[in-house]
């Protein structure tokens, strides 16, 4: 009955990952508040716990305990479904992400990856693309013009940037010859920093495109038009409050984390060490298992920091600029990148 | 072990539900969605047969159907928008002239 063991293991992994992820989300919020605070020359949350480290907990408690308001004129089923959908999609996509060295697999079960799927990358993309429903439905079911406007913007933005996003990854896929995230990472393992796709694979253009598109996909600054508070109050989640609002909030940060993970995996060699084989495998299996996770978390952290940094410094785009940028620059550039990469590959052979 | 005929039956059912949707619904968009449903039903049987005969081409056929469906959706929805602009309705029973 290996299959039941498989299920059991999977459930365990899912639980662990979910808990870790949600915690990470909470602390990313804290990180953001801190970093942005420093950027704006203030302290950020610092009162609750040492360095304000307990702030996320209290925030959570506050949101959780707040009165659950459902406005009268909303379309209730969807109004309730929307945040669930948003968070669900955000969480699911982490399932195919390998956090650490997959070779650490007692009894044949990989512990650092929930599911090793052949088409892992496509799964991530697919789930991300489903994620748009959360926002779209939230906006629409709220029966509020700001919300609707926000969700319309969001839908259009997501559809537009998804293309650039997908195409920017094609180059990497071609280099690796697989859609399996594990294989992609392993293809960058050989010489550390030098064999990362962004450097060794000459995918810096793709990386740039990916980064832009990813920011847009996650509705983050400078592409946070769907929730531009100065225009649309709070965009699609104007009518949401308390825990439902928190759910959206979490979904956004979970998405950020997913996107950062993917960036890491695709361009920065995933769990592999930037030093490559310079630091050979240690004798200690534990260290061998933990070190890749360290590298991975470090890289993801870097991307999250980048997110916050960008948010803290760059102004918001205008909507037509956003569309123009996506269709007129990113998309052709992504296609050019594919052409270039394939030419390079063809010449290399 | 599931007989492939189950898949085929499911596909036929989806297809027929699509037809029914086309027939009973009045909203242009819903009708359009019924068409998509039919396409999906057919796709399923393609995939099933691809599995039956271990032929990749069956799947590629589905891939092409998707492409066509995407194109169709783009143009169709554009038409729907145009119609809605002109008529301010999406009820097919009111759209009985091939003229905006």
């Amino acid at each position: 009955m290996t299959i039941w063991w498989f299920v059991l293991w999977s459930i365990l992994k899912v639980l662990v990952v979910t808990v870790v992820l949600l915690t990470a989300v909470a602390y990313t919020v804290l990180l953001e508040r801190k970093v942005v605070g420093r950027i704006q020359n203030r302290w950020g949350p610092s009162r609750v716990g040492p360095f304000g480290l307990l702030q996320p907990l209290v925030d959570g408690a506050k949101l959780f305990l707040k009165e659950d308001i459902v406005p009268t004129s909303v379309y209730k089923p969807l109004y309730l479904l929307a945040p669930v959908l948003a968070l669900g999609c955000a969480l699911i996509s982490i399932a195919v992400v390998p956090f650490g060295n997959p070779e650490v697999a007692p009894q044949g079960f990989r512990i650092f990856q929930i599911s090793d799927v052949n088409i892992g990358l496509l799964v991530v993309l697919g789930i991300t693309s489903i994620g748009v429903y959360g926002i779209a439905l939230a906006g629409w079911s709220s029966n509020n013009k700001y919300s609707l406007m926000g969700s319309l913007r969001s839908s259009a933005q997501l559809i537009s940037y998804e293309l650039a996003l997908g195409l920017s990854l094609v180059g990497v896929v071609m280099l690796a010859g697989s859609l399996n995230l594990r294989v992609i990472v392993e293809s960058q393992a050989a010489h550390g920093l030098l064999s990362w796709n962004i450097f060794g694979g000459f995918q810096f253009v793709a990386f740039f495109i990916y980064l832009m598109a990813a920011y847009a996909e996650t509705n983050r600054a400078p592409f946070d038009l769907p929730e531009a508070e100065s225009e649309l109050t709070a965009g699609y989640h104007t009518e949401y409050s308390s825990m439902k609002f928190a759910t959206f909030f979490m979904a956004e940060y979970a998405n950020m984390i997913t996107v950062s993970c993917v960036a890491t995996l695709m361009f920065f060699g995933g769990w592999t060490s930037p030093l490559g084989n310079l630091i050979g495998p240690f004798q200690n299996q534990i260290i061998n298992a933990i070190l890749p996770i360290f590298w991975f978390v470090l890289k993801v952290f870097f991307f999250l920091f980048l997110y916050i940094w960008v948010r803290g410094t760059l102004p918001r785009f205008r909507y037509d600029q956003l569309m123009n940028f996506g269709w007129r620059y990113l998309l052709p550039l992504a296609i050019l990148n594919i052409v270039g990469t394939s030419l390079w590959l063809a010449l290399k052979q | 072990m599931i007989p492939l005929s189950w898949y085929l039956l499911l596909s036929a059912t989806l297809f027929c539900l699509g037809i029914v949707g086309f027939l009973v619904r009045r909203n242009l968009i819903t009708i359009f969605m019924s068409i998509e449903l039919m396409l999906n039903g057919v796709n399923l049987s393609f995939v099933t047969f691809a599995h039956q005969w271990h032929l990749v081409k069956g799947q590629i056929f589905v891939f092409f159907v998707m492409v066509v469906a995407a194109a169709e959706a783009a143009v169709g929805l554009a038409i729907i928008i145009a119609i809605f602009r002109a008529r301010a309705t999406l009820a097919v029973d009111r759209i009985d002239l091939m003229k905006l």
Partner: protein, 645 residues
Amino acid sequence: MNGPLLFLPLIPLLPFAGFLLNGLFGSRLPKALVTLIALLAPLGSLAIVAHDAYLFWSGAITFPVIEQGAPTWISVGTLHVDFGFVLDQLSLTMLLIITGVGFLIHIYSAGYMAHEKGYWRYFAYLNLFLFFMIVLVLAGNALLMFVGWEGVGLASYLLIGFWFQKTSAADAGKKAFVVNRIGDFGFLIGMFLLLANFGTLTFSEIATKIGENPGWTGGVLTCIAICLFVGAAGKSAQIPLYVWLPDAMEGPTPVSALIHAATMVTAGVYMIARSHAIFDRSPVALSVVAIIGAATALFAATMGLVQTDIKRVLAYSTISQLGYMFLGCGVMAYSAGVFHLMTHAFFKALLFLAAGSVIHGIGGEQDLRKMGGLRKKLPVTFWTMTAGVFAIAGAPFLSAFYSKDAILYAAFQQGTFGRVLWAVGLFTALLTSFYMFRLWYLAFFGKQRAPELHPHESPWSMLGPLVILALLSIGGGWIGIEKFSEWLAPAVGTHAVEAAGGIPEWAFSVIAVSMGLIGWLVAHVLYFAKPDQPAKLAGSFSVPYKVLVNKYWVDEIYNALIVKPLLMISRFLLEWVVEFAIIGGVVWLLAGIALLTGAILQKWQSGNLRSYAAWLAAGAAALLLFAGAVLLAANGVDIKWAGWK
């Protein structure tokens, strides 16, 4: 073909070149150059004709000259027509008349038309006319003659309608063409008959074939002859197709002189003379020609009696004189007919030109009643006109005296029938003399009746031709009918002239001259001695007078009997009943059925998407049921997926 060069093709081509030059570039050329081109063309032709005539007289060539190896025009199946020309005595005579008189009239025109805007156009047309006329005369086969025949009709149409902005002129041109077309219809049918029965249109071959078969008389030859005569009657303005000629006087006067008096209208006579071989064998046709000729002569003369337009008098006179010619042909006196043709060409051209000079001199007025007393003002015109009037009246030793006599004499010899014709001709001569002297008196004698006119003599470019033509009118007949017959005999055949029952020839002359005298006397009394008498006469004979003034209402009768009914039938019966009601009706009925069916079936095509879909589904279901249930079950076929891979 080693004989001396005849330059036959050049004779028509020179005027044609003139036409092309003036027609294409005339509007941009200086007037003098236009005149030069226009005059050189007929002069050149005349020179060549004279050259050929000289060759003949000097014995260098013998007639007929049938051009060999002429370029082919149409050659399909058994039909073969070429551009072959024939030069014999007959065509040479005609050519001399045409180019000679034509040249004179060109000169005259240069003066007469000097102030016209369409000067170049006029001369282009005139040259075109000469071209076609020469082709007509030189043609060695009927079809080529038809080319000339139609061509002169065209030139006539263009020249009559020269002042096209006058409705009457445009109408007259069209009328001339259409009436001529009726004649052409006969000509065409005649040609078809010739083709059907002889297989050729070449005159010489036809004549040879007829000559080889002395037994052929009447029958189809009569048909051919009558058909050809219909053509001739159209061109030469004989009853019943004469109606176009008086109207044709709308054209410039020199045109009337050249085309409607001297040359074109005599083409019918020429044609009959040319195809005399056929006519000779058909007594019936000959009689028809003679009767029509005589009747036309008399009929036209009566109408000429009361005309007040100087040109119309001359026009009816022309018709009448043409009648004489046909009478001559009808009694097989072709040479006499052609002889009269020649003298008529001289004196009628003279009369027209003189009349033109008068009109020119008094500023375009054509009404005889407004003239008078012009004798002093226009002396040269008067004297030349006098020569013409006396000539046509048959004054002794002037040209018509010889030619008219010859015709009447020939007619008299045709038994009782011929004597009737002779009597008619004689009476016509009296009438001719009367109306010509009437014209003469009205125009030149008495006092000027319209003081607002300031008559002046015409320039010498006009008077010169007048003088020459006057001399020709006087001396043109001196050759005598015997010599002329002898000269023409090879071309038109000899026809034995019997002694006319013992009556000497001079007696006929005396009778004819006395008729002329009587006419003169009557005219003298009525229009010189007692000028108020004509009005009284008109009053007392009001019915005949009215009939004559209205020209027997022939135009009106034609209009009422032919034109109107044709238009009525076309409009009401054909257009409304057949076209709209029957043909259109059937079409609309069919369309209506289609529409009705469509209207019924349209209900089906409701435009409702869902009903379409339902029908589609129903159709698909039916097909599937049919295929699946019926076919497969009936054949007991089990569905197998295997074996496909």
